[in-house]
Structure formats: C-alpha cells, structure tokens
C-alpha cells in the first residue's frame, strides 16, 4: 500500500519536468502545446494524488515518509531531505493539483496569443512543483525550499508583463515583503534547532508536546513562525503586497494569490499544531492577527473599484478567518476553510478573468455592469461563488465559516485572550463580506450597462476551455461544504480525516445543541444582513447613497487601503533608501578617506628623513664622526674593556 502512496512523490518531479521542458524548448512549440504539456504534468500529478489519497484512506498507517538524500551534516546535526505524506499533506496536494489543473486548462484560453506563452506555463508549473514541495516536506528546511520557491514563482508571474514598470514594481514589492517573512522563517528554524536539536517536523511536534505548557521559548518560536506565515499569507503587517500582486495575469492571481500559495501560512501553523497548542500566547497572537486583518481587509474592500483588487482584499479577509481558526486551536476547521475557499475564490478570480477577457482588458467595475445577461455561464457561476463566500446556508462557505465562528466562541485555548471579542469581530466581518461581495457581483453582472456601446455586440461568452473549469469549480464550491458538517449534529468527514495529522490536546467548550443552533442562526443572520444591505443600497437606490458617501473620510481611508502603503513607504522604504545612500557615502568618504588620512603621517616621516640627505659632503663626514664618537663613548662608558 505504501508504494501506491509514495507514487505521489513523483507529482512535484513531473511538474518540474514540465517546467523545464517549457522553459528550454518552449519557444519552439506552437501555441497550445506548452499549455497542454503543463496541464498534463499537473493533471497526472492530480491523478497520482487521488490514488495516494484513496490508498492512504484504505491503508491503516497514517503517515508515509520517503527519504530522498542527505543534505546538511555537521557534528551531531543530521538533516536529510524527505517527504512525509500524511492526511493533511495529501489533502493539500489534492487542492493544489486539482485547482491547479483547472487553472492550467483555463490559462490555455486566457493566455491565447500572448508572446510569452511558454514562459507563462513554465512559471505556473514551477510554482506547482514548489508548492507541492512545501506541503510534502518532512523537515522545516525542505519546507523552506518550497517556501522561497513559491515566492520566486510568484515574483516571476506577477512581473510576467514586465515591460510596464507598474508590474515590475509590484513583483519586486511582493518578493521583498515575502523575503521579510522568509527571514522570520529562518530565525524560527534557528531557534527550533537550538531548542529541539533537529528540524524534522514530526520530531519537533513530539518534543514540543513534552515541553512545559506555555514556555516562553515556544512562544518566541510560534511568533517567528507567525511572522513567516503573515509574510506568505499576506496578513497584517505584511499584507501590502497582495493587492499589488493583481498586476499578474488573472489565472495567476486565481492559483497563487487565492487558492494555494497564500494558504501556505495556514498550512504551516496547522502542520506545527502541537507546538502552537502548547503556547496560548502565540496562538492568541495568530488569532488576533487574523481577526484584525479580516476586519480591516473587509473594510478596505468596500471602496475598491478594480474587479481583482476587491477579490484580493476579500482573500486577505478570508485568510484572516483561517488564521483565527488555527489560532483558536481548531486546526481542521482552518484547513477546511482553506479547502472550500480554494474553490469559490478560484472561481471568482477565473470569473473576473473571463469578464476582463471579454471586455478586452477592462478591470474597472465602474465601467462594467449588466454582464450577467451576456455571459450566462460566467454570470451564474460567479453568482454561486458570491453566495458561497457570503455564507449563504447550504453552500460550502457557510459551513466552513460557521465552523470557524463556532470554534472561536467556544475556544478554551485562548479563552483568556478575549475569544468572544474576536467572535464579535468575525461576525461583523462576515456581514461586511456578504455586503462587499454583493457589491462586487452587482457592479459587474447586474445593474445598468456602463461599458462602452461598441463593445456590446462583440461581447460574447468565453470559450469553453475557460467556462468548463468555471462550472467544475462551481459544483465543487457547492458540494465541498458537505464534507465538514457541524459535528454536534451531523457526520463530519474532514475533522475525522485530519484528526491523526493535527491531533492536539486542545479542547473546546461543549455547548448544548440549542446553543449550537443559535450560533448557526447568528451566522445566517449576518449573511442575510450583509446581502440585504447590499441589495437595498445598490439595487433599490441605484447606488445614489454610495455617491454621497464617496467623499467621506472613511471612504478615502478605505480607498487608500488604510494608508498602509503610504505608512510603510514613509516609515520603512524611504528611511531604508536614505540609510543606504547615506552608508554608501559614509563608506566612500569617511572610511576610505579616513584611512587614507591615516596614512599621511608616513608621508611626513618620509619628508623628515629626506633632510638628512642634504648633499653637503661635510654634513655626511660630521655624521660619520658623530657615529664614531657615540661608539667610542659607549665602549668607554660601558666598561667593556675592564
């Protein structure tokens, strides 16, 4: 059975080969071939993952580890690279390769006619390989290899149309902010080695369990891993790069900046659950970072006008929800939300992609509207996704979000860190999510048509290669929810499935069933309020109310993304550039000239010595005589003779 599972180990290799083939010979291939190669390599990876998934489900062992080759070795510190395929990593692999495959197919249509066609698919394949490496790694080091690998691929793909300075800057910003998170990851690894003596995740998890509850060193390790996670999952304070990352092609935003890469932070914390379970402080920090990010991101999403920027802030907000889930100790809930979010967010992005594709690159929602009539499939699938993300009951979003809310309310791990306040925040954010998603759907698909008339007749639905993935994703985003029904009343498959991988001593308050239903009711009310408000503002009053609010301070604050960009530029970027040029001039002027000045006394000494060579013979004779004299004195006085 294990060899069936270990087949999945070839998935990253396949993706890598696909990337190499496209990279080296890409330009030689005609248009769709690179796309086909890339999609195939990811597709086969998907099949392998499914086989492994069912083999693992059937088999009795929960974890298969495959060692590759020894990597680092110094004294007692041994580290060899290897994969650890357990239920959590296989689930993630399914998401990555599954959603990845759909997006690859979609991209064949979307990138049609682009002159960097093969380069695009090389980047996408490389990304899938790196992401698989990240989730399959058995040690923090190999995870870090995948961690930076995805950072690089996102840099390559965000800056795909590198000729515009805007895209290149966005790519650079994403890379540098990710790099800050990676530095945090490095420090966390160092502390892990000094504390546990090894980087093997399973060993660390077991050892962490043995440590005293809430010990400070664990707290620091947790915080460092949190810093790494915020870098990659665009949470406060490192969330500024994701909105700009929309400069990349839309399928890239769908795959990387919605479904897979940004969830790496959540996966990391879930993977190191036993460690976080031991430090309520660090977990509370995770939860609060998630909560605040969710709230702020939702607020910013209100006023955004770019179709993809709204979805980007919505992603940041949903990631905030996942962080709260893993923060409060409900690790399977976090992964469950990752699972469902991957589907409907990818669908939303691909829908936006097909809208942009149809409107020949138009991304501003103010010049869209009423497209539902013209693009049937995109319209309906986007509607399903919007309802799902808004948390409308019986759709996947509702189940995962409700689970998060329920577990936040009943969490004991961070009970004394204000989990109820957090619950309230999340509830409000859920409502806000419903509102801005309704706004998004309405501005694009409903209401009067604001796009130029001449586009009207050429408007057509995207080709089937793009709409088919939309339909598949829509089906998934409806059904996915039923894998994780509320435990107290219904069979919950995903909790049971992830249990062995993330089992921790974390417990939750046991509520009476009536209270559970009350919680579910509350989340339904939140969704209803959000949607209703949206309907009242945009449908009934045709957005007149919004026009009046346009100039208010809140609206400006929201549009500017809470001023984080300006703040970071003023606090970090300018001073950094200032110190850089300052240090550079210090280096050339002070250190350089200083040392040269230090050498000047030697010059003085030389000139003084030259005086002795006056050229007068008699001076030389005198010098000789003095020499004789001194010698004679020494001999006579030192009593050598006697």
């Amino acid at each position: 059975m294990t060899d069936l599972i270990s087949l999945a180990a070839f998935a990253p290799l396949l993706a890598l080969i696909g990337a190499l083939v496209n990279g080296l010979f890409g330009r030689a291939f005609r248009e769709p071939l690179p796309g086909v190669i890339a999609s195939l390599s990811v597709g086969i990876g998907f099949l392998l993952s499914i086989i492994a998934f069912f083999a693992l489900a059937a088999g009795e062992e929960t974890r298969v580890s495959i060692t590759l080759w020894p990597y680092l070795q110094a004294g007692s510190f041994e580290l060899s690279l290897g994969f650890a395929l357990d239920r959590l990593s296989l689930l993630m692999m399914l998401i990555i390769t599954g959603v990845g495959f759909l997006i690859h197919v979609y991209s064949i249509g979307y990138m049609h006619g682009d002159e960097g066609f093969s380069r695009y698919f090389m980047g996408l394949n490389l990304f899938v390989a790196a992401m698989l490496l990240l989730v399959m790694a058995d040690s923090f080091l190999l995870m870090f290899v995948g961690w930076e690998g995805v950072g690089i691929c996102s840099y390559l793909l965000i800056g795909f149309w590198y000729r515009e300075k805007l895209n290149a800057d966005a790519a650079r910003k994403a890379f540098i902010v990710n790099r800050i998170g990676d530095a945090g990851f490095l420090l966390a690894m160092f502390l892990t080695v000094t504390t546990f003596g090894t980087l093997d995740i399973q060993a660390v998890n077991e050892a962490a369990g043995a440590l005293v509850f809430g010990s400070s060193v664990l707290g620091v390790i947790g915080l460092l891993y949190l810093l790494a996670a915020t870098g990659k999952s665009a949470q406060l304070p490192l969330q500024v790069w994701l909105p700009d990352a929309m400069a990349g092609p839309t399928p890239v935003s769908a795959l990387i900046h919605a479904a897979t890469m940004v969830t790496a932070g959540v996966y990391l914390i879930a993977r190191v659950a036993p460690l976080f379970a031991q430090t309520p402080a660090a977990s509370a920090a995770v939860a609060w970072v998630g909560g605040l990010t969710a709230l702020i991101a939702a607020f910013i999403a209100f006023s955004q006008t770019d179709i993809k920027k709204i979805l980007a802030y919505s992603t940041i907000s949903q990631l905030g929800f996942m962080f709260v889930a893993v923060g409060v100790g409900a690790y399977w809930v976090g992964i469950f939300h990752v699972f469902t979010h991957a589907f409907f967010k990818a669908l939303l992005f691909l829908g936006a992609g097909s809208v942009i594709h149809a409107l020949a690159g138009e991304q501003d929602v103010r010049r869209m509207g009423g497209l539902g009539k013209h693009m049937r499939v995109t319209g309906t699938t986007s509607l399903i996704a919007t309802l799902a993300i808004a948390g409308v009951p019986l759709l996947s979003g509702f189940f995962s979000k409700d689970a998060i809310l329920a577990h936040t309310a009943t969490s004991e791990l961070i009970a004394d860190y204000g989990n109820l306040v957090l619950y309230a925040i999340l509830l409000v954010t859920a409502a806000m999510t419903a509102f801005y998603m309704f706004r998004w759907y309405h501005r694009v698909f409903a209401g009067e048509e604001r796009f130029p008339k001449k586009l009207r007749d050429s408007l057509h639905e995207s080709p089937s290669v793009m709409t088919l993935p939309l339909v598949i994703l829509a089906v998934c985003s409806v059904l996915a929810g039923y894998l994780g029904l509320p435990e107290f009343a219904f069979p919950n498959w995903i909790a049971h499935w992830l249990e062995p991988s993330v089992e921790t001593p974390v417990s939750f308050l046991h509520l009476s069933t009536s209270l559970e239903w009350l919680l579910i009711g509350l989340s339904v009310v939140a969704a209803a309020v959000g949607l209703g408000l949206g309907y009242w503002v945009y449908e009934r009053n045709r957005g007149r109310l919004v026009a009046r609010l346009e100039e208010s301070m809140l609206a400006r604050l929201s549009r500017s993304g809470f001023g984080f960009d300006a703040l970071y530029r003023a606090v970090f970027v300018e001073p950094a550039e200032g110190t850089a040029s300052g240090l550079s001039s210090v280096d050339t002027d002070i250190v350089d000239r200083g040392l040269r000045a230090g050498a000047s006394p030697v010059g003085l000494l030389a000139r003084a010595a030259a005086l002795l060579q006056s050229g007068y013979l008699r001076a030389y004779a005198l010098a000789m005589l003095i020499g004789v004299l001194v010698f004679a004195l020494i001999v006579s006085l030192s009593g050598v003779l006697s």
């Binding site: 990597y71 680092l72 070795q73 110094a74 004294g75 290899v145 280096d587």
Partner: protein, 487 residues
C-alpha cells in the same frame, strides 16, 4: 599528486607567457588545457596522501601539502570556477592575452597552494605569491583610476600580511614547536600563555580581516572591482582570492584557541555588521561592478559570522559558503563582463528592458542572482544557513542582525534584475552566444551541484572542522561540538 595541482597551472602559465605571438586559438587551447587538467587532478585529490619534505632546514620549514578535509573541496571548486574564467578571458581580453592568462593561472596555482599548504611559512609564501598576479592584472589591464586602486589594494594587503609574518615567525620560537607544520604547531601553541596568544592572534586577524574582508579594512574592495578589466575575469580571480576566511579557519582559530575565544565575539559583531552594512549599501549603488563588490562583501560578512560563532555548524557552513560564493559571485562577475561587452558601460541607469531581446541572458542572470541572494536549493543557501545557525548558538541577536542581510540581499538582487532586464526597453542587445554559453554552463552546473548535494563536501569539510572544534575550548556558554542537543 598534491604538488601536480600547483605545478600544472604554473607550467601552462610558462607556456602562455611565450604564446603572445601565437594564434588566439592556441592560447585558448593552452588556457583550457591548464585549467581543465587542474580540475581533473583536483577531482581525485581527496583520496591522495599529502607530501611533506624539509625545505628550509635551518628554520625547520617544510614544503608540506595535504588535501585533507576542506582544502580539497576549496581547490576543487576554485579550479571548477577557473575553467570558464580562463575560457572567457581568452575570448575577451584584447591586449596581451597570453600574459593575462598566464597571470590567471599563476594565481590559480597560488590559490591551490594556499588551500593545500600545511606549513605556516609555506602558507604565507603562497599567500603573498597570489597577490602579485592579482596586482598586475589590476595594474596593467585595469580601468582609468587603476593606479589608486592598486596602491590602496597593495597597502592594505601588504601591511596586514607583513605584520602577520611577524606573528608567524614568533609562533615557533615562543611555543617551541618542532617545526612550522600544522600538526607540530597544533600540539604546542594552544598551551601558549593567553597574553602571547592574544597579540599573535591580533596580528593574524589584521591580515586575514583585510582579505576576509571585514568592515573597517574593506574599502579596497569596491575600487578593486570597479577598476578591474571590464571582462570581469580579474574580478573572479579576486573573488577566489578572498581567502581571509580560510586563513582563520585553517590557521588562526585552531592554533590560538585561547585568544580565539576572547576575540571571536568582537569579530562576530564586526562580521554581522559587515554583512548588513554591505548589503544595505549594495541596494543604493548605481555602478554594476560596485554593487557586485558590495554584494560579495556581504557574503564574506556572512562567512565571518559563521566562523566567529566558533561552533561546529558555523565553521563548516562558513567554509562551504566560501566555496559556494566563489561560483555564484564569480558567475555574476562574468555576467557583468558579458553585459559590458554588449553595452560598454557599467552604469545601471543606461540599462533596461533587455529581457525582450536577450531572454536567455536574462534567465541566467536571474538564476545566478537568486543563487547569490541565498535562495534555498541553490549554491549559497546551505553555507549561509549553517553559518547563521552556528552564529545563532553564539549570540541569537547578532545572528538575527546578520539575517537582516538576507532581506537587503533580496532587495538589491531584485532591484538589479529590474533595472537591467525589466521596464521599458532601452536598446536591444544580442542574446547569449556560444562562447558565453560554454562559459556559463560550468557555473550553472557548479551552482546546482553545490546547492542540491552538499552532503559529501560537508563531510569532507567536517573532518577539518572537528580538529578546530576540539581545540577551540571556549567557556561553557558557547556549546562547542554538540548542536544544541539540549532536550
């Protein structure tokens, strides 16, 4: 066998000196012959026995060479990098190519000597021998302000090494060792009184800090690289010649452990500061060569951080990083040579959008840039990781400071790529030609080999690190051998 690694380059250099009138292809063939055969010999070096014959009887100086442990690794990597360098030099240096190549090979012989020498005075001999060709390459083939650069480089290098010579010569009489060979000295010098150990170690530090280079003694580096021959070949040789780290690793730390324990924390501060300082400055540079100079200075800061952590992982990591940065920084300098050949300038402001007309060049540059900023899975990462880890054991805060250089490295790496290859297109350039491809293939192979399979090399390095870790017996607070095995 070990002697042949030094003799082959010397002999080929001799032929090359007289090949001035010969046809360029003959020169290229000779250059390749020399470097490739040296590389092949270097491949079989680790197994072979060393040699040790009495050289200066009066003073008991032996001509002792032995390819144990880290020296074989460094010789192997240095000779690997030398192949593309010689090939590119034969293609790109116009004036007196024969003697340029000869100097390059003499430098390679000197470098192999430095790494293999197991006798202190022989080490010093090769240490100075390698300086001469480096100076001549800068002085004869350098840029407009080469004279000041040579003067500064000479003053720094020579003052440091002469003082070191004083320390070296004093070592044997003071300690009463049988000879200047490493094993004889190792038996006796650790027992020297703390005072003598300290001043001798400081003399050693002065010379090695110039070559490491560490913060206050580094200002020769930017000028050295800026004024060198635009093909970047002399810079690669210069990068190989940054052997201060090896000096500390093979000689200063093991011979004078008492002083090392006292001085190392101070040097650790300096090294960490150099790493961050240089990386931050690199972000603001507008001249390509100066930017690469500061980047390599930042790497050497990390090597220093690894060394002065006085920890087994750090020491092995520092030497591995030393080897890896030869390949990556060497590759970057060769690429800068290729860029200069296309646009005849190093000013970054005149570059832009080259990726459209030279995609292969852009891809390779990006790959080598990512290696240089320490992306895991590529050459620099294992060394950097272990160095920082070693330093983390010594002092977490300094290691944290040094890790900031990783971020600054990311900034200058990506900035450089954007200014060269992205944004609007300035002037289309030719893509990689076959000579350049042939030059870059060994570099890329080296990067992948060092990045993906550090295991065997680390094992060899560790043989020598173990000796140092044994002799360096700092106080309890710096765990000497065990890797933080605390439960």
């Amino acid at each position: 066998m070990t002697l042949t690694v030094i003799l082959i380059p010397l002999i080929t250099a001799l032929f090359l000196f007289f090949s001035e009138a010969a046809d360029p292809l003959v020169r290229r063939f000779l250059g390749l012959l020399g470097t490739v055969s040296t590389f092949l010999v270097a491949l079989y070096l680790p197994g072979t026995p060393g040699m040790s014959s009495l050289w200066l009887p009066g003073v008991n100086v032996y001509f002792a060479l032995s390819p144990d442990g880290a020296s074989a690794v460094l010789v192997l990597v240095a000779s690997l990098v030398m192949i593309p360098t010689a090939l590119y030099a034969s293609g790109r240096v116009e004036r007196r190519t024969g003697s340029f190549l000869a100097l390059l090979l003499i430098m390679q012989a000197g470098l192999n000597g430095i790494f293999l020498a197991k006798d202190l005075i022989l080490f010093y001999l090769f240490w100075e021998l390698t300086l001469i060709p480096s100076l001549m390459m800068l002085g004869i083939w350098g840029g407009t302000k080469r004279r000041q650069a040579v003067q500064k480089y000479l003053i720094y290098a020579v003052t440091g090494s002469f003082l070191m010579l004083v320390g070296m010569l004093a070592l044997r009489p003071l300690s009463g060792a049988a000879s200047y060979r490493l094993e004889d000295l190792l038996a006796v010098t650790p027992a020297l009184p703390a005072g003598t150990q300290l001043w001798i170690f400081l003399l050693f530090t002065l010379a090695f800090a110039v070559k490491l280079p560490l913060w206050p003694l580094h200002s020769w580096l930017p000028d050295f690289h800026e004024q060198n021959h635009p093909s970047g070949v002399a810079d690669v040789a210069g990068t190989l010649y940054k052997v201060g780290g090896w000096g500390f690793f093979a000689w200063a730390l093991p011979l004078l452990p008492g002083a090392a324990a006292v001085v190392a924390p101070v040097l650790l501060v300096l090294a960490a500061f150099t790493a961050v300082y240089a990386a931050v400055i690199a972000t603001s540079q507008t001249n390509l060569k100066r930017l690469l100079a500061y980047a390599s200075l930042s790497h050497m800061g990390l090597v220093g951080v690894g060394l002065f952590g006085l920890h087994l992982t750090g020491l092995s990591g520092a030497i591995y990083l030393l080897a890896a940065q030869m390949v990556s920084t060497g590759g970057l300098f060769l690429l800068s040579g290729m860029l200069y050949e296309r646009r005849k300038t190093f000013e970054l402001s005149e570059y832009g959008g080259l990726s459209r007309s030279a995609p292969a060049l852009a891809a390779v540059t990006l790959f080598v840039l990512f290696t240089s900023i320490g992306v895991p899975g590529l050459a620099n990462f294992p060394g950097e990781f272990m160095s920082l880890l070693g330093a983390f054991h010594a002092s977490p805060w300094l290691a944290a400071l040094a890790t900031l250089s990783v971020i600054a490295a990311g900034v200058y790496g990506v900035n450089l790529y954007q200014r060269l290859y992205q944004d609007r297109e300035t002037q289309p350039v030719a893509d990689l030609r076959e000579l350049e491809l042939a030059v870059l293939v060994p570099i890329l192979a080296g990067i992948l080999w060092l990045g993906l399979a550090p295991g065997p090399q680390l094992e060899r390095i560790e043989v020598q690190t173990r000796i140092i870790a044994q002799t360096v017996q700092p106080g309890e607070e710096i765990p000497m051998v065990t890797l933080g095995g605390r439960p």
